[in-house]
C-alpha cells in the first residue's frame, strides 16, 4: 500500500521541494561524472570485445585523437569556420526575420498578406534546399551560409510574431493613457516587452542553424566541422570522426548556454518559463 510519504519520495514531482532533497551544484556535477564514467567504461569494454578500431575505437583513442587535433590547431580551424558561418547566418537571418516578425505581429493586415508565403515555405526544410542551392552557389562558403540562414529564419520570425502578439495588452493601454504616440509605444513598450520571447526564438534559430551546418558542410563545403567529419570517415579514421562529432555537440551546447546566460542578463525579469530549453 503506497502511503503519502512514499508518494513524495518515489515521485519527483515539481513543486514538491519541501520533501525532496534539493540538487546541489556539486551533487549534480558528481552524478554527471559518475554516469559519464560508467558510459565510458562500458564503451571501452565493448570496444575491447569487438576489437575493430575502425568500427568502434576505444574511448582513449578518441581522446588521443581529440588532443592531437587540438594540438595542431586543425580542430580549432574547422570549429572556427563553422562557428563563423553560424554567426554570419544568424546575423543575416535576424536582420530579415526580426523586422518582418515585428510588422507581422503588429499588423493583422500585413500578417494576413505575408503569412501564406511563410507557411508555404516553412515545411520545406533548409536541407531540402541543398541540391538547388548547390546548383546556384556551388560548393563553397555561400552554400552553408545560405542553408543556415534559411534554417534560422523561420524559428526567429515565428517566435518574434508570437512574442509581439503576447505582449500584455495592459502595458500598451497604460502607455496610451499617458498620451504616448503609437510609434513610441512600439519602440518603448512592445519591443522591450517582447524581448524575452524574441531571445528564445533566436536560441531556437541558433539550434536550427547549427543542425543545418553539419548537413550543409557534409555535402557542400570544403571546410568546417561537417566537412572534417566526412573527410575522416572516408579515411576510415574513426577516432577523429568521433572527436569532431563530439566537438559539434559541445559547441552546440555552449552556444545555447551562452545565449541563455545573455538572455538572463539582458532580461532578468523574464520568468523561468520563457528561458526554458
Amino acid at each position: 500500500m503506497l502511503g503519502i510519504g512514499d508518494t513524495h519520495r518515489r515521485f519527483s514531482v515539481m513543486g514538491n521541494s519541501q520533501r525532496a532533497r534539493r540538487e546541489t551544484p556539486l551533487g549534480s556535477a558528481f552524478a554527471y561524472l559518475r554516469t559519464m564514467l560508467v558510459f565510458i567504461a562500458a564503451w571501452w569494454a565493448v570496444s575491447m570485445w569487438t576489437s575493430n578500431p575502425v568500427l568502434l575505437p576505444s574511448p582513449f583513442a578518441v581522446i588521443a585523437a581529440f588532443v592531437e587535433l587540438a594540438g595542431d590547431l586543425e580542430l580549432f580551424k574547422h570549429a572556427g569556420i563553422s562557428l563563423g558561418r553560424m554567426v554570419l547566418s544568424l546575423g543575416l537571418a535576424a536582420l530579415l526575420a526580426l523586422p518582418l516578425g515585428l510588422f507581422m505581429g503588429l499588423s493583422r493586415w500585413f500578417d494576413a498578406l505575408v503569412d501564406p508565403v511563410v507557411e508555404l515555405l516553412r515545411p520545406i526544410s533548409g536541407i531540402a534546399w541543398i541540391p538547388l542551392a548547390l546548383f546556384i552557389f556551388g560548393i563553397g562558403n555561400a552554400l552553408p551560409v545560405f542553408i543556415m540562414t534559411y534554417a534560422a529564419f523561420f524559428p526567429i520570425v515565428l517566435g518574434t510574431i508570437a512574442g509581439v502578439r503576447s505582449v500584455d495588452r495592459r502595458l500598451v493601454d497604460a502607455a496610451r493613457t499617458m498620451g504616448i504616440p503609437d510609434r513610441t509605444i512600439v519602440n518603448r513598450v512592445v519591443v522591450p516587452a517582447a524581448l524575452p520571447s524574441i531571445l528564445v526564438a533566436v536560441r531556437l534559430g541558433v539550434a536550427s542553424s547549427w543542425t543545418a551546418v553539419v548537413a550543409a558542410e557534409l555535402i557542400g563545403a570544403p571546410s568546417g566541422l561537417g566537412y572534417a567529419v566526412e573527410w575522416y570517415r572516408e579515411l576510415l579514421m574513426t577516432p577523429q570522426v568521433m572527436a569532431f562529432i563530439a566537438t559539434i555537440g559541445v559547441l552546440g551546447y555552449l552556444s545555447d548556454r551562452s545565449l541563455r546566460m545573455l538572455a538572463q542578463r539582458f532580461t532578468p525579469w523574464a520568468s523561468d518559463a520563457s528561458t526554458a530549453p
Binding site: L2, V54, I124, W210, I245, G249, G252
Partner: protein, 258 residues
C-alpha cells in the same frame, strides 16, 4: 464579395503575385532548364505518372515510420521513468543531455561506417533524431503531473505501476503528443538529409527515397524543375504528416482543449 472571399483573396494575393512574377522572369531568361512554375508543374505530372515520385515518397516514409516507432518505443517509457523517478533521471540525464546537442545528421558518417549506405543506416539516423524531442517532452509531461492528483491516487491505494498507468500517463499525454509531433517533423527532415548525404557519397547508387532522388536530379541529370518538385513534395508530406498526427492525437485525448 462576401467577407470570407475577401479573406481568401488576400491570402493568395502575395503567393500568386510572386508565382506570376517568377514565371515571367524565369521564362524571360531563355534557358529551358530554369525552374518556372509551368515547367515544375509539368515535371510534377511526369514524375507522378511514371510512379517515380510516389515510390520515392513511400520509401522515405517507410524509413521514417520505422525509425520513428523505434524511437518512440524507447523514448516514451524512458521519459516516463525519468520523469517520475528522480533517481533514474539523475543517472540517465547526463547521457541524454550530452548527446542531444549532437544533431542526427552529424552521426550519419558513423552510421554509414557501421551499417553501410542503405536503409538500416537511414533508420538509425531517423530513430536518433526522433528520440530526443520525444524523451525531453515526455519527461516534462511526467514531471508536470499535478501533485494533487498523485496524492489522490495514493489515498485511493494505488501502487506504483498503477499510478503510472492511470494517472501519470494520461496527464502527460498532451506533452508526449507535443514531443511526438516535433519528433515527426525532425524525423522527416532527418531522412531527407540522410538520403541526400548518402546519395552524395554513394554516388547516386540505390538507397532510394526522395532525398536521394533529389541528389540524382542535381548531380546527374541536372533537372532543376524536378528538384523543385521534390522540394515541394518534401514540404507537402511534412504538412500532411503533422496534420494526420495532430488529428490522431486529438482523438486520443478528447479531454484536452486544443
Amino acid at each position: 464579395m462576401t467577407f470570407s472571399s475577401i479573406r481568401v483573396a488576400r491570402s493568395v494575393a502575395l503567393p500568386l503575385t510572386l508565382i506570376v512574377v517568377w514565371q515571367l522572369l524565369g521564362t524571360a531568361m531563355g534557358n529551358p532548364r530554369t525552374p518556372v512554375p509551368t515547367r515544375i508543374a509539368a515535371a510534377a505530372l511526369q514524375l507522378t505518372a511514371s510512379g517515380d515520385l510516389p515510390l520515392a515518397i513511400v520509401q522515405s516514409l517507410g524509413r521514417v515510420f520505422a525509425g520513428f516507432m523505434i524511437a518512440a518505443a524507447i523514448a516514451v517509457p524512458l521519459g516516463l521513468a525519468m520523469g517520475s523517478s528522480r533517481a533514474i533521471e539523475r543517472n540517465v540525464d547526463p547521457l541524454v543531455e550530452s548527446f542531444r546537442p549532437i544533431a542526427a545528421i552529424a552521426i550519419l558518417p558513423l552510421a554509414i561506417l557501421w551499417l553501410g549506405t542503405g536503409t538500416p543506416a537511414a533508420m538509425l539516423i531517423v530513430a536518433y533524431a526522433a528520440f530526443f524531442p520525444i524523451v525531453v517532452n515526455t519527461i516534462a509531461g511526467a514531471k508536470r503531473v499535478s501533485p494533487t492528483l498523485l496524492r489522490a491516487a495514493a489515498t485511493m491505494g494505488l501502487d506504483h505501476i498503477q499510478t503510472i498507468r492511470t494517472v501519470i500517463v494520461p496527464s502527460a499525454l498532451p506533452a508526449i503528443g507535443v514531443g511526438l509531433r516535433i519528433a515527426m517533423g525532425v524525423a522527416w527532415t532527418a531522412i531527407v538529409a540522410a538520403e541526400l548525404a548518402v546519395g552524395a557519397k554513394a554516388g547516386g547508387g540505390g538507397s532510394g527515397g526522395i532525398g536521394q532522388m533529389m541528389f540524382v536530379f542535381y548531380a546527374y541529370s541536372i533537372e532543376l524543375n524536378r528538384i523543385v518538385v521534390c522540394m515541394i513534395a518534401v514540404g507537402l508530406v511534412a504538412l500532411v504528416l503533422d496534420h494526420v498526427l495532430r488529428a490522431g492525437l486529438r482523438s486520443l485525448m478528447p479531454w484536452v482543449s486544443q
